[in-house]
Assembly symmetry: C2
Homo-oligomer: 274 residues x 2
Amino acid sequence: MNFTDMLRAATAQHGSLLCVGLDPEPARFPAGMQGDARKIYDFCAAVVDATADLVCAFKPQIAYFAAHGAEEQLERLMQHMRSNAPQVPVILDAKRGDIGATAEQYAKEAFERYGADAVTLSPFMGFDSIAPYLAYRGKGAFLLCRTSNPGGDDLQNQRLASVAGQPLLYEHLASLAQGPWNRNGQLGLVVGATYPQEIERVRSLAPTLPLLIPGVGAQGGDAAAAVRAGLRSDAPIIVNSSRAILYAGDGADFAGAARAQALRMRALLQAARR
Amino acid sequence: MNFTDMLRAATAQHGSLLCVGLDPEPARFPAGMQGDARKIYDFCAAVVDATADLVCAFKPQIAYFAAHGAEEQLERLMQHMRSNAPQVPVILDAKRGDIGATAEQYAKEAFERYGADAVTLSPFMGFDSIAPYLAYRGKGAFLLCRTSNPGGDDLQNQRLASVAGQPLLYEHLASLAQGPWNRNGQLGLVVGATYPQEIERVRSLAPTLPLLIPGVGAQGGDAAAAVRAGLRSDAPIIVNSSRAILYAGDGADFAGAARAQALRMRALLQAARR
Protein backbone atom coordinates (compact mmCIF):
# COMPACT_ATOMS: atom_id res chain seq x y z
CA MET A 1 0.00 0.00 0.00
CA ASN A 2 1.33 3.48 -0.72
CA PHE A 3 2.14 5.95 2.02
CA THR A 4 -0.86 8.22 1.54
CA ASP A 5 -3.33 5.34 1.67
CA MET A 6 -1.62 3.89 4.75
CA LEU A 7 -1.79 7.27 6.45
CA ARG A 8 -5.48 7.74 5.69
CA ALA A 9 -6.31 4.22 6.83
CA ALA A 10 -4.37 4.51 10.12
CA THR A 11 -5.87 7.93 10.82
CA ALA A 12 -9.38 6.54 10.34
CA GLN A 13 -8.84 3.19 12.05
CA HIS A 14 -7.20 4.69 15.16
CA GLY A 15 -9.22 7.92 15.19
CA SER A 16 -5.95 9.73 15.51
CA LEU A 17 -3.95 12.61 14.06
CA LEU A 18 -1.08 11.82 16.41
CA CYS A 19 2.40 10.73 15.34
CA VAL A 20 4.79 9.54 18.04
CA GLY A 21 8.32 10.73 17.35
CA LEU A 22 11.01 8.27 18.37
CA ASP A 23 13.94 10.40 19.59
CA PRO A 24 15.72 8.08 22.00
CA GLU A 25 18.03 9.80 24.49
CA PRO A 26 19.67 7.23 26.76
CA ALA A 27 20.31 9.91 29.41
CA ARG A 28 16.52 10.23 29.79
CA PHE A 29 15.72 6.52 29.85
CA PRO A 30 14.05 5.13 32.99
CA ALA A 31 15.98 3.56 35.83
CA GLY A 32 17.55 0.27 34.77
CA MET A 33 18.14 1.51 31.22
CA GLN A 34 19.39 5.00 31.95
CA GLY A 35 22.49 5.99 30.02
CA ASP A 36 22.66 2.67 28.18
CA ALA A 37 22.69 3.18 24.40
CA ARG A 38 22.34 -0.57 23.91
CA LYS A 39 18.78 -0.20 25.22
CA ILE A 40 17.64 2.14 22.45
CA TYR A 41 15.77 -0.64 20.66
CA ASP A 42 14.14 -1.96 23.83
CA PHE A 43 13.03 1.51 24.89
CA CYS A 44 11.59 2.46 21.52
CA ALA A 45 9.94 -0.92 20.90
CA ALA A 46 8.18 -0.70 24.28
CA VAL A 47 6.79 2.75 23.39
CA VAL A 48 5.73 1.51 19.95
CA ASP A 49 3.87 -1.44 21.45
CA ALA A 50 2.18 0.79 24.03
CA THR A 51 0.95 3.37 21.52
CA ALA A 52 0.51 1.62 18.14
CA ASP A 53 -3.30 1.61 18.35
CA LEU A 54 -3.37 5.33 19.17
CA VAL A 55 -1.37 6.85 16.32
CA CYS A 56 -1.53 7.56 12.59
CA ALA A 57 2.26 7.30 12.16
CA PHE A 58 5.59 6.76 13.88
CA LYS A 59 8.56 9.00 13.19
CA PRO A 60 12.02 7.79 14.22
CA GLN A 61 14.62 10.58 14.09
CA ILE A 62 17.78 9.01 12.71
CA ALA A 63 20.21 11.41 14.42
CA TYR A 64 19.43 9.89 17.81
CA PHE A 65 20.48 6.49 16.52
CA ALA A 66 23.50 7.66 14.51
CA ALA A 67 25.03 9.55 17.42
CA HIS A 68 25.31 6.26 19.30
CA GLY A 69 26.27 4.03 16.39
CA ALA A 70 22.89 2.36 16.81
CA GLU A 71 21.99 1.81 13.14
CA GLU A 72 21.50 -1.90 13.72
CA GLN A 73 19.03 -1.11 16.52
CA LEU A 74 17.17 1.20 14.12
CA GLU A 75 17.00 -1.61 11.56
CA ARG A 76 15.53 -3.91 14.21
CA LEU A 77 13.07 -1.22 15.32
CA MET A 78 11.87 -0.68 11.74
CA GLN A 79 11.39 -4.44 11.40
CA HIS A 80 9.56 -4.51 14.73
CA MET A 81 7.14 -1.80 13.58
CA ARG A 82 6.49 -3.59 10.28
CA SER A 83 5.74 -6.82 12.17
CA ASN A 84 3.82 -5.54 15.19
CA ALA A 85 2.13 -2.44 13.77
CA PRO A 86 1.92 -3.09 10.01
CA GLN A 87 -1.02 -0.72 9.69
CA VAL A 88 0.99 2.29 10.93
CA PRO A 89 3.17 4.10 8.36
CA VAL A 90 6.70 5.02 9.43
CA ILE A 91 8.26 8.35 8.50
CA LEU A 92 12.06 8.33 8.74
CA ASP A 93 13.01 11.81 9.91
CA ALA A 94 16.36 12.37 8.24
CA LYS A 95 16.05 15.79 6.50
CA ARG A 96 18.46 14.68 3.78
CA GLY A 97 19.31 17.13 1.05
CA ASP A 98 21.79 16.21 -1.67
CA ILE A 99 21.81 15.59 -5.39
CA GLY A 100 22.15 12.97 -8.08
CA ALA A 101 24.05 9.85 -7.19
CA THR A 102 24.31 10.89 -3.53
CA ALA A 103 20.57 11.42 -3.17
CA GLU A 104 20.08 7.97 -4.69
CA GLN A 105 22.23 6.53 -1.91
CA TYR A 106 20.19 8.29 0.77
CA ALA A 107 16.95 7.11 -0.85
CA LYS A 108 18.31 3.58 -0.84
CA GLU A 109 19.18 3.97 2.86
CA ALA A 110 15.69 5.20 3.78
CA PHE A 111 13.52 2.95 1.63
CA GLU A 112 15.57 -0.22 1.05
CA ARG A 113 17.80 -0.51 4.11
CA TYR A 114 15.31 0.79 6.67
CA GLY A 115 12.08 0.15 4.77
CA ALA A 116 10.53 3.52 5.67
CA ASP A 117 7.19 4.47 4.15
CA ALA A 118 8.13 8.16 3.93
CA VAL A 119 11.12 10.39 4.64
CA THR A 120 11.70 14.04 5.54
CA LEU A 121 13.87 16.09 3.17
CA SER A 122 15.48 19.53 3.03
CA PRO A 123 14.62 21.32 -0.24
CA PHE A 124 17.54 23.80 -0.24
CA MET A 125 19.24 22.22 -3.27
CA GLY A 126 16.06 22.25 -5.36
CA PHE A 127 13.93 19.75 -7.22
CA ASP A 128 16.71 17.50 -8.43
CA SER A 129 17.57 16.84 -4.78
CA ILE A 130 14.00 15.55 -4.30
CA ALA A 131 13.45 13.60 -7.51
CA PRO A 132 15.51 10.50 -6.62
CA TYR A 133 13.16 9.78 -3.71
CA LEU A 134 10.10 10.07 -5.96
CA ALA A 135 11.52 7.27 -8.09
CA TYR A 136 10.32 5.00 -5.29
CA ARG A 137 6.66 4.98 -6.31
CA GLY A 138 4.26 4.91 -3.40
CA LYS A 139 6.78 6.27 -0.89
CA GLY A 140 6.16 9.68 0.65
CA ALA A 141 8.51 12.67 1.01
CA PHE A 142 7.89 15.56 3.40
CA LEU A 143 9.78 18.72 2.51
CA LEU A 144 10.83 21.20 5.18
CA CYS A 145 8.68 24.26 4.50
CA ARG A 146 8.16 26.51 7.53
CA THR A 147 9.93 25.40 10.68
CA SER A 148 9.05 26.76 14.07
CA ASN A 149 12.53 27.31 15.47
CA PRO A 150 13.62 30.96 15.85
CA GLY A 151 16.14 30.55 13.01
CA GLY A 152 13.34 29.42 10.73
CA ASP A 153 12.90 33.09 9.88
CA ASP A 154 16.47 33.46 8.60
CA LEU A 155 15.77 32.09 5.14
CA GLN A 156 12.24 30.68 5.01
CA ASN A 157 10.61 33.98 5.91
CA GLN A 158 12.38 36.10 3.31
CA ARG A 159 10.19 37.71 0.68
CA LEU A 160 11.08 36.86 -2.91
CA ALA A 161 11.28 39.71 -5.42
CA SER A 162 11.79 37.35 -8.34
CA VAL A 163 8.58 35.34 -8.10
CA ALA A 164 5.16 36.65 -9.14
CA GLY A 165 3.19 37.92 -6.15
CA GLN A 166 6.38 38.29 -4.07
CA PRO A 167 5.73 35.32 -1.80
CA LEU A 168 7.83 34.46 1.19
CA LEU A 169 10.34 31.68 0.49
CA TYR A 170 8.29 29.09 2.38
CA GLU A 171 5.15 30.13 0.50
CA HIS A 172 6.96 29.71 -2.82
CA LEU A 173 8.08 26.28 -1.72
CA ALA A 174 4.55 25.27 -0.74
CA SER A 175 3.35 26.26 -4.21
CA LEU A 176 6.14 24.29 -5.89
CA ALA A 177 5.34 21.23 -3.77
CA GLN A 178 1.61 21.41 -4.52
CA GLY A 179 2.28 22.00 -8.22
CA PRO A 180 5.20 21.17 -10.50
CA TRP A 181 7.27 19.20 -7.98
CA ASN A 182 4.51 16.81 -6.92
CA ARG A 183 4.97 14.00 -9.37
CA ASN A 184 2.72 11.04 -8.58
CA GLY A 185 1.30 12.69 -5.46
CA GLN A 186 4.15 11.74 -3.15
CA LEU A 187 4.96 15.08 -1.51
CA GLY A 188 4.01 16.52 1.85
CA LEU A 189 5.25 19.52 3.85
CA VAL A 190 6.76 20.01 7.30
CA VAL A 191 5.21 23.03 9.00
CA GLY A 192 5.90 23.98 12.61
CA ALA A 193 3.04 24.20 15.08
CA THR A 194 4.17 27.45 16.65
CA TYR A 195 2.49 29.78 14.19
CA PRO A 196 -1.03 28.54 13.30
CA GLN A 197 -1.55 31.42 10.86
CA GLU A 198 1.39 30.12 8.83
CA ILE A 199 -0.12 26.63 8.80
CA GLU A 200 -3.26 28.22 7.37
CA ARG A 201 -1.19 30.01 4.76
CA VAL A 202 0.56 26.79 3.75
CA ARG A 203 -2.77 24.99 3.62
CA SER A 204 -4.21 27.62 1.29
CA LEU A 205 -1.23 27.24 -1.07
CA ALA A 206 -1.05 23.44 -0.78
CA PRO A 207 -4.71 22.41 -0.37
CA THR A 208 -4.21 18.66 -0.77
CA LEU A 209 -0.74 17.89 0.61
CA PRO A 210 -0.27 16.01 3.87
CA LEU A 211 1.21 18.33 6.49
CA LEU A 212 3.61 16.98 9.11
CA ILE A 213 3.42 19.29 12.12
CA PRO A 214 6.13 18.95 14.77
CA GLY A 215 6.55 21.28 17.68
CA VAL A 216 3.72 20.29 19.98
CA GLY A 217 4.11 18.75 23.40
CA ALA A 218 7.51 19.40 24.92
CA GLN A 219 8.11 22.12 22.36
CA GLY A 220 4.96 23.91 23.41
CA GLY A 221 3.05 24.53 20.19
CA ASP A 222 -0.70 24.76 20.35
CA ALA A 223 -1.87 21.41 19.05
CA ALA A 224 -5.55 22.28 18.79
CA ALA A 225 -4.84 25.48 16.87
CA ALA A 226 -2.59 23.52 14.52
CA VAL A 227 -5.42 21.08 13.76
CA ARG A 228 -7.90 23.84 13.05
CA ALA A 229 -5.41 25.62 10.82
CA GLY A 230 -4.27 22.62 8.83
CA LEU A 231 -6.94 19.94 8.67
CA ARG A 232 -9.33 19.85 5.71
CA SER A 233 -11.69 17.07 4.74
CA ASP A 234 -9.42 15.70 2.06
CA ALA A 235 -6.05 17.01 3.25
CA PRO A 236 -4.40 14.98 5.98
CA ILE A 237 -2.32 16.30 8.84
CA ILE A 238 0.04 14.49 11.16
CA VAL A 239 0.76 16.10 14.51
CA ASN A 240 4.00 14.89 16.01
CA SER A 241 4.91 14.67 19.66
CA SER A 242 8.19 13.11 20.77
CA ARG A 243 9.62 13.95 24.15
CA ALA A 244 6.32 14.66 25.92
CA ILE A 245 5.29 11.06 25.21
CA LEU A 246 8.62 9.22 25.34
CA TYR A 247 9.58 10.69 28.68
CA ALA A 248 6.13 11.00 30.26
CA GLY A 249 7.30 8.62 32.98
CA ASP A 250 10.73 7.77 34.30
CA GLY A 251 9.95 4.57 36.18
CA ALA A 252 9.42 0.92 35.30
CA ASP A 253 6.05 1.76 33.73
CA PHE A 254 7.43 4.33 31.30
CA ALA A 255 5.53 2.62 28.47
CA GLY A 256 2.26 2.92 30.38
CA ALA A 257 2.97 6.58 31.05
CA ALA A 258 3.70 7.07 27.34
CA ARG A 259 0.38 5.44 26.49
CA ALA A 260 -1.50 7.65 28.94
CA GLN A 261 0.09 10.75 27.45
CA ALA A 262 -0.63 9.55 23.90
CA LEU A 263 -4.29 9.00 24.87
CA ARG A 264 -4.48 12.56 26.20
CA MET A 265 -2.86 14.00 23.09
CA ARG A 266 -5.04 11.96 20.74
CA ALA A 267 -8.17 13.17 22.53
CA LEU A 268 -7.01 16.77 22.44
CA LEU A 269 -6.41 16.52 18.69
CA GLN A 270 -9.75 14.77 18.07
CA ALA A 271 -11.58 17.44 20.06
CA ALA A 272 -10.08 20.12 17.84
CA ARG A 273 -11.61 18.47 14.74
CA ARG A 274 -15.12 19.23 15.83
CA MET B 1 44.97 21.82 15.83
CA ASN B 2 41.84 23.52 14.57
CA PHE B 3 40.39 22.86 11.13
CA THR B 4 41.46 26.12 9.52
CA ASP B 5 45.07 25.75 10.62
CA MET B 6 45.14 22.11 9.49
CA LEU B 7 43.77 23.12 6.10
CA ARG B 8 46.33 25.88 5.62
CA ALA B 9 49.19 23.63 6.70
CA ALA B 10 48.17 20.75 4.40
CA THR B 11 47.62 23.12 1.48
CA ALA B 12 51.13 24.55 1.94
CA GLN B 13 52.91 21.30 2.76
CA HIS B 14 51.41 19.40 -0.18
CA GLY B 15 51.26 22.33 -2.58
CA SER B 16 47.69 21.38 -3.22
CA LEU B 17 44.17 22.79 -3.44
CA LEU B 18 42.80 19.32 -4.15
CA CYS B 19 40.36 17.42 -1.95
CA VAL B 20 39.67 13.80 -2.78
CA GLY B 21 36.03 12.94 -2.23
CA LEU B 22 35.42 9.42 -0.96
CA ASP B 23 32.15 8.29 -2.57
CA PRO B 24 32.52 4.52 -2.66
CA GLU B 25 30.25 2.74 -5.12
CA PRO B 26 30.82 -1.03 -4.97
CA ALA B 27 29.40 -1.44 -8.49
CA ARG B 28 32.35 0.62 -9.76
CA PHE B 29 35.06 -1.10 -7.73
CA PRO B 30 37.83 -2.87 -9.67
CA ALA B 31 37.74 -6.56 -10.50
CA GLY B 32 38.09 -8.68 -7.38
CA MET B 33 36.18 -6.14 -5.28
CA GLN B 34 33.39 -5.27 -7.66
CA GLY B 35 29.92 -5.27 -6.14
CA ASP B 36 31.23 -6.17 -2.69
CA ALA B 37 30.12 -3.61 -0.09
CA ARG B 38 32.37 -5.29 2.47
CA LYS B 39 35.32 -3.88 0.50
CA ILE B 40 34.36 -0.23 0.99
CA TYR B 41 37.01 0.28 3.64
CA ASP B 42 39.73 -1.48 1.65
CA PHE B 43 38.94 0.48 -1.49
CA CYS B 44 38.86 3.87 0.25
CA ALA B 45 41.93 3.20 2.40
CA ALA B 46 43.94 2.29 -0.69
CA VAL B 47 42.96 5.56 -2.38
CA VAL B 48 43.77 7.51 0.79
CA ASP B 49 47.21 5.94 1.03
CA ALA B 50 47.90 6.60 -2.67
CA THR B 51 46.93 10.28 -2.54
CA ALA B 52 47.54 11.56 1.02
CA ASP B 53 50.65 13.54 0.06
CA LEU B 54 48.82 15.22 -2.83
CA VAL B 55 45.76 16.70 -1.13
CA CYS B 56 44.69 19.44 1.26
CA ALA B 57 41.70 17.46 2.54
CA PHE B 58 39.68 14.25 2.26
CA LYS B 59 35.90 14.32 2.06
CA PRO B 60 33.99 11.09 2.73
CA GLN B 61 30.34 11.34 1.70
CA ILE B 62 28.36 9.53 4.38
CA ALA B 63 25.44 8.53 2.10
CA TYR B 64 27.64 6.03 0.25
CA PHE B 65 28.40 4.27 3.53
CA ALA B 66 24.89 4.51 5.01
CA ALA B 67 23.22 2.99 1.93
CA HIS B 68 25.22 -0.20 2.55
CA GLY B 69 25.06 -0.26 6.34
CA ALA B 70 28.79 0.40 6.31
CA GLU B 71 29.05 2.79 9.26
CA GLU B 72 31.61 0.58 10.94
CA GLN B 73 33.75 0.71 7.81
CA LEU B 74 33.48 4.51 7.86
CA GLU B 75 34.62 4.54 11.49
CA ARG B 76 37.64 2.44 10.53
CA LEU B 77 38.37 4.67 7.54
CA MET B 78 38.28 7.80 9.70
CA GLN B 79 40.68 6.11 12.13
CA HIS B 80 42.90 5.08 9.24
CA MET B 81 43.11 8.66 7.97
CA ARG B 82 43.92 9.99 11.45
CA SER B 83 46.71 7.42 11.79
CA ASN B 84 48.19 7.39 8.29
CA ALA B 85 47.54 10.96 7.17
CA PRO B 86 47.26 12.96 10.39
CA GLN B 87 48.24 16.16 8.59
CA VAL B 88 45.21 16.02 6.25
CA PRO B 89 41.91 17.40 7.60
CA VAL B 90 38.81 15.32 6.96
CA ILE B 91 35.50 16.94 6.00
CA LEU B 92 32.51 14.69 6.63
CA ASP B 93 30.06 15.45 3.81
CA ALA B 94 26.69 14.94 5.48
CA LYS B 95 24.70 18.13 4.69
CA ARG B 96 22.79 17.78 7.94
CA GLY B 97 20.16 20.37 8.75
CA ASP B 98 18.10 20.13 11.91
CA ILE B 99 17.63 22.01 15.16
CA GLY B 100 18.24 21.94 18.86
CA ALA B 101 18.63 18.56 20.49
CA THR B 102 18.62 16.79 17.11
CA ALA B 103 21.42 18.95 15.71
CA GLU B 104 23.39 18.16 18.85
CA GLN B 105 23.05 14.46 18.04
CA TYR B 106 24.29 14.99 14.48
CA ALA B 107 27.22 17.06 15.77
CA LYS B 108 28.06 14.28 18.17
CA GLU B 109 27.93 11.80 15.28
CA ALA B 110 30.28 13.87 13.09
CA PHE B 111 32.80 15.07 15.63
CA GLU B 112 32.77 12.48 18.42
CA ARG B 113 31.78 9.23 16.74
CA TYR B 114 33.61 9.81 13.45
CA GLY B 115 36.19 12.36 14.61
CA ALA B 116 35.75 14.61 11.56
CA ASP B 117 37.59 17.94 11.45
CA ALA B 118 34.74 19.66 9.60
CA VAL B 119 31.26 18.87 8.34
CA THR B 120 28.96 20.10 5.56
CA LEU B 121 25.57 21.51 6.61
CA SER B 122 22.35 22.67 4.98
CA PRO B 123 21.35 26.15 6.23
CA PHE B 124 17.64 25.97 5.34
CA MET B 125 16.50 25.94 8.98
CA GLY B 126 18.61 28.99 9.90
CA PHE B 127 21.29 29.85 12.38
CA ASP B 128 20.03 27.76 15.27
CA SER B 129 20.48 24.70 13.04
CA ILE B 130 24.18 25.64 12.70
CA ALA B 131 25.03 26.76 16.23
CA PRO B 132 25.26 23.31 17.84
CA TYR B 133 28.18 22.43 15.55
CA LEU B 134 30.00 25.64 16.47
CA ALA B 135 29.96 24.53 20.09
CA TYR B 136 32.77 22.19 19.05
CA ARG B 137 35.51 24.80 19.06
CA GLY B 138 38.09 24.36 16.35
CA LYS B 139 35.85 22.24 14.16
CA GLY B 140 34.80 23.61 10.77
CA ALA B 141 31.32 23.82 9.21
CA PHE B 142 30.72 24.37 5.49
CA LEU B 143 27.26 25.67 4.66
CA LEU B 144 25.61 24.91 1.33
CA CYS B 145 25.51 28.27 -0.44
CA ARG B 146 25.32 28.01 -4.23
CA THR B 147 25.18 24.51 -5.62
CA SER B 148 25.86 23.74 -9.25
CA ASN B 149 23.06 21.27 -9.92
CA PRO B 150 20.23 22.52 -12.17
CA GLY B 151 17.82 22.62 -9.21
CA GLY B 152 20.23 24.91 -7.36
CA ASP B 153 18.36 27.78 -9.01
CA ASP B 154 15.02 26.77 -7.52
CA LEU B 155 15.60 28.46 -4.17
CA GLN B 156 19.21 29.68 -3.97
CA ASN B 157 18.88 31.93 -6.99
CA GLN B 158 15.73 33.73 -5.89
CA ARG B 159 16.05 37.46 -5.30
CA LEU B 160 15.04 38.65 -1.85
CA ALA B 161 12.79 41.68 -1.61
CA SER B 162 13.04 41.83 2.16
CA VAL B 163 16.79 42.28 2.53
CA ALA B 164 18.60 45.56 1.82
CA GLY B 165 20.11 45.56 -1.66
CA GLN B 166 17.78 42.76 -2.83
CA PRO B 167 20.43 40.05 -2.91
CA LEU B 168 19.85 36.58 -4.24
CA LEU B 169 19.23 34.02 -1.50
CA TYR B 170 22.71 32.53 -1.81
CA GLU B 171 24.27 35.99 -1.65
CA HIS B 172 22.33 36.76 1.52
CA LEU B 173 23.55 33.51 2.98
CA ALA B 174 27.17 34.29 2.09
CA SER B 175 26.85 37.62 3.92
CA LEU B 176 25.35 35.97 6.98
CA ALA B 177 28.13 33.37 7.04
CA GLN B 178 30.86 35.97 6.72
CA GLY B 179 29.22 38.17 9.33
CA PRO B 180 26.85 37.48 12.21
CA TRP B 181 26.80 33.69 11.90
CA ASN B 182 30.56 33.19 11.94
CA ARG B 183 31.24 32.78 15.62
CA ASN B 184 34.86 31.84 16.32
CA GLY B 185 35.75 31.71 12.62
CA GLN B 186 34.48 28.20 12.03
CA LEU B 187 32.32 28.68 8.93
CA GLY B 188 33.01 28.02 5.27
CA LEU B 189 30.77 27.83 2.20
CA VAL B 190 30.02 25.19 -0.44
CA VAL B 191 29.95 26.77 -3.90
CA GLY B 192 29.63 24.74 -7.09
CA ALA B 193 32.35 24.95 -9.75
CA THR B 194 29.98 25.25 -12.67
CA TYR B 195 29.51 29.02 -12.55
CA PRO B 196 32.83 30.80 -11.84
CA GLN B 197 31.15 34.20 -11.83
CA GLU B 198 29.07 33.05 -8.86
CA ILE B 199 32.20 31.89 -7.04
CA GLU B 200 33.57 35.42 -7.57
CA ARG B 201 30.34 36.87 -6.20
CA VAL B 202 30.48 34.66 -3.11
CA ARG B 203 34.15 35.54 -2.63
CA SER B 204 33.36 39.27 -2.74
CA LEU B 205 30.67 38.82 -0.06
CA ALA B 206 32.69 36.38 2.04
CA PRO B 207 36.28 37.53 1.57
CA THR B 208 37.88 35.36 4.25
CA LEU B 209 35.80 32.17 4.41
CA PRO B 210 37.15 28.87 3.13
CA LEU B 211 35.23 27.79 0.02
CA LEU B 212 34.61 24.11 -0.68
CA ILE B 213 34.12 23.71 -4.43
CA PRO B 214 32.69 20.42 -5.67
CA GLY B 215 31.70 19.74 -9.23
CA VAL B 216 35.02 19.40 -11.02
CA GLY B 217 36.29 16.24 -12.64
CA ALA B 218 33.53 13.81 -13.46
CA GLN B 219 30.97 16.56 -13.00
CA GLY B 220 32.76 18.71 -15.57
CA GLY B 221 33.24 22.06 -13.88
CA ASP B 222 36.18 24.19 -14.94
CA ALA B 223 38.70 23.69 -12.16
CA ALA B 224 41.12 26.39 -13.24
CA ALA B 225 38.38 28.99 -13.56
CA ALA B 226 37.15 28.04 -10.10
CA VAL B 227 40.61 28.64 -8.64
CA ARG B 228 40.93 32.04 -10.27
CA ALA B 229 37.46 33.02 -9.11
CA GLY B 230 37.78 31.88 -5.53
CA LEU B 231 41.39 31.91 -4.35
CA ARG B 232 42.71 34.96 -2.53
CA SER B 233 45.95 35.28 -0.61
CA ASP B 234 44.31 34.84 2.76
CA ALA B 235 41.14 33.01 1.77
CA PRO B 236 41.50 29.27 1.25
CA ILE B 237 39.71 27.17 -1.31
CA ILE B 238 39.30 23.42 -1.50
CA VAL B 239 38.55 21.91 -4.90
CA ASN B 240 36.91 18.53 -4.64
CA SER B 241 37.09 15.69 -7.11
CA SER B 242 35.56 12.33 -6.33
CA ARG B 243 34.66 9.96 -9.14
CA ALA B 244 37.30 11.13 -11.63
CA ILE B 245 39.96 10.07 -9.11
CA LEU B 246 38.32 7.09 -7.40
CA TYR B 247 37.45 5.38 -10.66
CA ALA B 248 40.40 6.52 -12.79
CA GLY B 249 41.35 2.87 -13.19
CA ASP B 250 39.34 -0.31 -12.97
CA GLY B 251 42.15 -2.85 -12.66
CA ALA B 252 44.38 -4.12 -9.89
CA ASP B 253 46.31 -0.83 -9.91
CA PHE B 254 43.27 1.36 -9.28
CA ALA B 255 45.14 3.12 -6.48
CA GLY B 256 48.02 3.95 -8.82
CA ALA B 257 45.57 5.26 -11.39
CA ALA B 258 43.91 7.36 -8.69
CA ARG B 259 47.32 8.78 -7.74
CA ALA B 260 48.14 9.63 -11.36
CA GLN B 261 44.80 11.42 -11.75
CA ALA B 262 45.31 13.27 -8.44
CA LEU B 263 48.76 14.40 -9.63
CA ARG B 264 47.22 15.75 -12.83
CA MET B 265 44.46 17.55 -10.98
CA ARG B 266 46.85 19.00 -8.39
CA ALA B 267 49.08 20.35 -11.17
CA LEU B 268 46.11 21.82 -13.02
CA LEU B 269 44.98 23.61 -9.87
CA GLN B 270 48.50 24.83 -9.04
CA ALA B 271 48.93 26.17 -12.56
CA ALA B 272 45.75 28.21 -12.17
CA ARG B 273 47.25 29.98 -9.12
CA ARG B 274 49.92 31.71 -11.16
